[in-house]
């Protein structure tokens, strides 16, 4: 019997314990309830039989008593006593109480636990003729019954024990051993061994379990082989994916740069529109002055100075844009308000030309560690996005408010617009790459903002609807005080 199999021991306990308990309960019931009541019933039945027999004897004695046939009485009662081995004594008394039988009075030490005295009055038409008294000992009867009970109890004990033994053997052969083998094979499978012996599969549930286990093991073996092969190439594939991701990132960055450059060009166009118009006017004025013969050194110098100023402004714009988009070399402390203003300066002309007011409410002195150009680029993306929304929805009096505050060690920048807000179904996706609601949008601006703030500056970005538009929030940790 496999005693090293804990599961098998539990199975045996679950199977055999109820049987054992039931058997013991049955034995206890038989011993404590059924046997005593059986004995009591037998005693009562015996007493009834004795009374009936005494009645019959008494009836038979009536004619003998009436005719004083004492010899016949003695002969009869001797016979009855001989036939009833459990009768210790029979006595017959006449109506006067004189003993008629036996000749000598019986012993007086006949009392006992299983000894009873039965008295039967003998009557004829209500007239007492005598009394028949029998002292009987039903000890042997009870002993026989008790012996039968003991045999029954023995059977009730032996049969379940035999049954349990047979069941134990059957369980061992049919269940425990196969289960132990399966458990061993499972353990070896967990250790990576696929060659553990399995029990023979019969056409029963255990056999089905064995077959299923074998199939499962084979499947695991194949999967493991695939995984190992996969694992062998995993590093290579990871490198490939990393390279792809870097390329994607580079592409994104490139696209972002291109987008930023496009934005820059667009903003340069905005910035240069007015100076170019003014420059055109200066040149025209020179022509008009020449045509009207009013061109002199003074007017010419004035025109040249105006033109030079305009060209200087335009050149400053180029420098501003160039510096804005020059990548930072290293992480360093920077003023959040300065970079917000730089981004706002880039967008100023575009806002103005589109009739959008840009309000800045910036607290000074908020310094963060990071890449200032990336921060300002992130702010620029948000400002550009706000302008595009106001333009796309043709908001009459477009307005964007930029507010910079400190909150519990964070520099919190909020950009509110009155562009009508972000649709609820769009809101969760606005920071996703390549997600755009614009017909010709790239969908990477806000994604780049999120990447810049979260990856490079350990900050957070958030978008929500507020008032009559959207509110985008950029939070970056402020430099800790020394």
């Amino acid at each position: 019997m496999n005693l090293r199999c804990p599961a098998c021991r539990k199975l045996r306990i679950r199977l055999f314990l109820p049987l054992a308990v039931l058997s013991l309960a049955l034995v206890a019931y038989v011993q404590l309830v059924w046997a005593p009541s059986s004995i009591e019933y037998s005693k009562n039945f015996y007493h009834r039989m004795q009374d009936r027999q005494l009645g019959n004897i008494a009836e038979g004695l009536i004619p003998l008593l009436l005719s004083d046939q004492l010899a016949e009485i003695h002969t009869s009662l001797d016979t009855f006593k001989g036939e009833n081995g459990d009768w210790l004594a029979i006595e017959l008394f006449n109506a006067k109480g004189e003993r008629l039988y036996p000749l000598e009075p019986p012993r007086t030490d006949l009392a006992g636990p299983d000894v009873d005295v039965h008295r039967r009055p003998i009557l004829l038409e209500g007239r007492p003729l005598g009394v028949l008294q029998v002292t009987e000992n039903h000890h042997q009867l009870l002993a026989d019954i008790r012996a039968a009970h003991h045999r029954l109890i023995l059977v009730l004990l032996v049969v379940p024990i035999a049954l349990l033994a047979v069941l134990a053997v059957a369980l061992e052969l049919a269940v425990s051993r196969p289960v132990a083998q399966l458990a061993d094979a499972s353990q070896k499978l967990a250790d990576g061994q696929f060659d553990a012996a399995l029990p023979e599969g019969n056409q029963d549930e255990i056999g089905q379990l064995v077959r299923n286990f074998a199939s499962m093991r084979e499947e695991i073996r194949r999967n493991q082989a695939d995984l190992l092969q996969l694992n062998a190439t995993l590093e290579q594939r990871v490198q490939e994916e990393l390279t792809k991701n870097r390329e994607k990132d580079m592409l994104l960055i490139q696209q972002s740069r291109l987008a930023a450059m496009g934005e820059m060009v667009h903003n340069i166009a905005h910035q240069w529109r007015q100076p170019l118009n003014a420059l055109a006017l200066v040149i025209r004025n020179i022509k008009d002055d020449y045509e009207f013969g009013e061109l002199g050194a003074e007017s010419l110098n004035r025109a040249v100075t105006n033109a030079q100023n305009l060209l200087n402004r335009m050149s400053t714009t180029i420098d501003d844009f160039r510096d804005f988009f020059r990548p930072d070399q290293e992480s360093k402390p920077f003023s959040l308000a300065d970079e917000v203003r730089a981004a706002a300066a880039i967008m100023e002309a575009a806002y103005r030309n589109n009739g959008i007011t840009l309000e800045l409410d910036l607290h000074e002195g908020l310094v963060a560690d990071g890449y200032p150009s990336l921060y300002s680029q992130a702010v620029l993306n948000i400002l550009a996005n706000a302008k595009e929304i106001i333009q796309a929805r043709q908001i009459e009096k477009g307005h964007v408010t930029v507010r910079l505050r400190e909150a519990e060690g964070w520099g919190v920048l909020t950009v509110n617009d009155n562009g009508g807000g972000i649709p609820p179904e769009v809101l969760p996706k606005i920071f996703d790459p390549y997600f755009t609601t614009k017909e010709q949008g790239s969908g990477i601006g806000l994604y780049m903002t999120k990447m810049i703030i979260e990856k490079n500056m350990n900050g957070q970005v958030a978008a929500a609807n507020a008032d009559d538009g959207a509110r985008l929030t950029i939070s970056v940790p402020l430099q800790k005080a020394p």
């Binding site: 005719s67 004083d68 046939q69 004492l70 010899a71 016949e72 006449n94 008629l100 000749l103």
Partner: protein, 268 residues
Amino acid sequence: MKNLFALLFLWLLTAPAFADTYTFGVVPQFEQRKTFAIWSPILAELEKRTGQRFELVTTATIPAFEKLFNDGKVDFAYMNPYYMVENVQGYLPLVRDDKPIVGILVVRRDSPYQTPADLEGKEVAFPSPNAIGASLLIRADLARQFHVNIVPRYVKSHSSVYLHVAQGLTAGGGGVVKTLEEQKPEVKDALRVLYTTRSIPSHPVSAHPRIPKKVREAVREALLALASTPEGKPLLAEVPMTRPVAAYAKDYEPMRGYGMDDLFVREQ
């Protein structure tokens, strides 16, 4: 030739063509099966020895047999010897046992009674009123010899008499030696004989006077001869007739003066 046939015819008329069947009545001292068991072999021997045929007859009760006897309806009878005194049919005794009949009066061994006179007024058990030895003789002697009045109690059998006395239910009881000897030791040891009566001859086998003398004598001789044979002696001992002798009416004459007549109970 004609005369010869006439004589032959006359002889056939007067002489028995086959042996006659005689009824042999036996008083029911025992129950009928025992009576038949005792007497059937004896009658078979008689048939062999006498050439006659005998039919055993008995009754369920003694009074019934007494009526048969008094009516003369049996040819031969084994009967209470008292009936030899009355004998209205004149039955002639043939054979009897040599041993006379005496009755015994028993009391408990530990009783204070020393003489029959001590039983004055006491209850005394008897088998039946007309049992010759166990009742009639004793009652006759108590009344005639000792002038004792007792209260008789008839208890059907000798064994019952002894048990009544041993059990102390009666002061005394009447029986005969033979039946007393047949009791269990504990019964016998509880009793003692207070008085033994005068004797009378034993029960006779008797024949009705209508039976031819030749046949009567043949039966007498056959019984006496049977008693002397090894096979016959035990048969007759069962009767009981241990030593059969020829019996005559004169053997029973002394009984007339015993005073049993008034004590004999006649069934109606």
